[in-house]
C-alpha cells in the first residue's frame, strides 16, 4: 500500500472561474446602469428577495424596471454605486444548477470623489446554465444589521 498524502486543500469546484466571470459582468452592468446587458444575465422568471422588503420581486421585466429606476436616481444625484463581491462559495446542485453564496459590499461615491460603504450584505443565489452561459434564477439578499 502506497502512502499517498491526503490533500489538505481541495480545489475549487470545476467552473468556479466561469462563475466569477459571470458575477463580474453582472455587477459591472448593474453599476454602469446598463439595463440591457444586466437583463441578459437574468432568467425570464428571476426572483429577487430582500430582508428589507416584505415581498419578493418576480420576473425579469419587474426586476429590470426597478433597476432602471435605481440607476436613474443615482445618476440624478451624481452618485456612483459599486457592488463588491467576495467570499464566493459555489456548490453544484445538478448539471445545470449551482448555489452561490457571497458577501456583497455596496460602495458609493458622491461627486468630488468621497467613497463610503453603504451596505454590507450576504447574497444567496441560484444560477442556471443556459447554453454556454450562466443566468441568475433567484437571489436572496440579506442586509446585515436587519433582523
Amino acid at each position: 500500500m502506497t502512502n499517498t498524502p491526503q490533500p489538505v486543500i481541495t480545489d475549487a469546484p470545476a467552473g468556479y472561474e466561469e462563475i466569477q466571470q459571470f458575477y463580474a459582468h453582472h455587477m459591472h452592468a448593474l453599476d454602469a446602469g446598463d439595463a440591457a446587458a444586466w437583463a441578459e444575465t437574468l432568467t425570464e422568471d428571476v426572483v429577487f428577495a430582500q430582508n428589507i422588503r416584505p415581498e419578493p420581486r418576480r420576473g425579469r421585466e419587474v426586476v429590470v424596471g426597478r433597476m432602471k429606476l435605481g440607476a436613474a436616481d443615482l445618476a440624478e444625484r451624481g452618485v456612483t454605486r459599486r457592488h463588491w463581491l467576495g467570499m464566493l462559495d459555489v456548490r453544484q446542485r445538478d448539471d445545470r444548477t449551482v448555489d452561490a453564496r457571497c458577501y456583497v459590499l455596496v460602495v458609493e461615491t458622491a461627486e468630488g470623489g468621497r467613497a463610503g460603504i453603504r451596505a454590507s450584505t450576504v447574497c444567496a443565489d441560484v444560477l442556471v446554465r443556459d447554453g454556454g452561459r450562466w443566468l441568475l434564477k433567484s437571489r436572496e439578499i440579506n442586509h446585515d444589521g436587519v433582523s
Binding site: A14, G15, Y16, E17, E18, Q20, Q21, F22, Y23, A24, H25, M27, H28, D31, A37, E40, T41, G78, V79, T80, R82, H83, W84, L85, G86, V107, T109, A110, E111, G112, G113, A115, G116, I117, G132, R133
Partner: protein, 150 residues
C-alpha cells in the same frame, strides 16, 4: 455578454494582478515598472483636486514616465502619508487577439495614516489592455476612471 475566458487564463490574470498591487503598495517601483510595456500608456480621469494632489497627468506615455509617477507617489507616502492598499474585484477578461487580453475591474483604495484609522479614499474602475510578454503579461494601456466623475 462575452464568452468567459478559459479558467487557466483567468487564474493567470488574477495572479498577475495580485503581484501588481503588491508591488504598487509595497513601493517596489522597479518590479511594478516591469509589468508595463515599454510603450505603455496610462490614462487617468480623476477629480481636479486629486489630480493636483498627486501631480497626475491625464495621460502619461511610456514606461519611464509611468515609473517616474509611481516613484513620486511612493515617495510622498513614505514621507508621512501612511499606508495605501489597493483592493480589486469584479475582474472581467476578454480576448482581443492571440496575445492580447482586455480586462476591467473595480479598485478600492484604502489609506491608513500613521497611527490612525483606515478609510476608503477612492473607488474607481480600471480597464487594461494586456499583451503577452514571454510566459507573462504586460500592461500596454491602462485607463483609470474615478467614480462619480461627471
Amino acid at each position: 455578454v462575452t464568452a468567459p475566458v478559459p479558467a487557466a487564463l483567468y487564474r493567470q490574470l488574477e495572479h498577475f494582478y495580485r503581484r501588481h498591487w503588491r508591488f504598487v503598495d509595497d513601493g517596489d517601483v522597479e518590479a511594478c515598472g516591469r509589468m508595463f510595456a515599454e510603450d505603455a500608456v496610462l490614462v487617468r480621469q480623476a477629480p481636479p483636486a486629486r489630480m493636483r494632489e498627486r501631480q497626475a497627468e491625464p495621460e502619461r506615455a511610456g514606461r519611464d514616465r509611468i515609473v517616474a509617477g509611481l516613484r513620486r507617489v511612493t515617495g510622498q507616502r513614505a514621507a508621512g502619508e501612511g499606508t495605501r492598499r489597493h483592493w480589486m474585484g469584479q475582474l472581467t477578461a476578454e480576448r482581443a487577439g492571440e496575445d492580447v487580453v482586455r480586462t476591467r475591474f473595480a479598485t478600492l483604495v484604502i489609506d491608513t495614516p500613521g497611527g490612525g484609522r483606515p478609510g476608503l479614499r477612492t473607488s474607481a474602475v480600471v480597464e487594461d489592455v494586456l499583451v503577452r510578454a514571454g510566459e507573462d503579461w504586460q500592461i500596454r494601456r491602462r485607463r483609470i476612471r474615478h467614480d462619480a466623475m461627471v
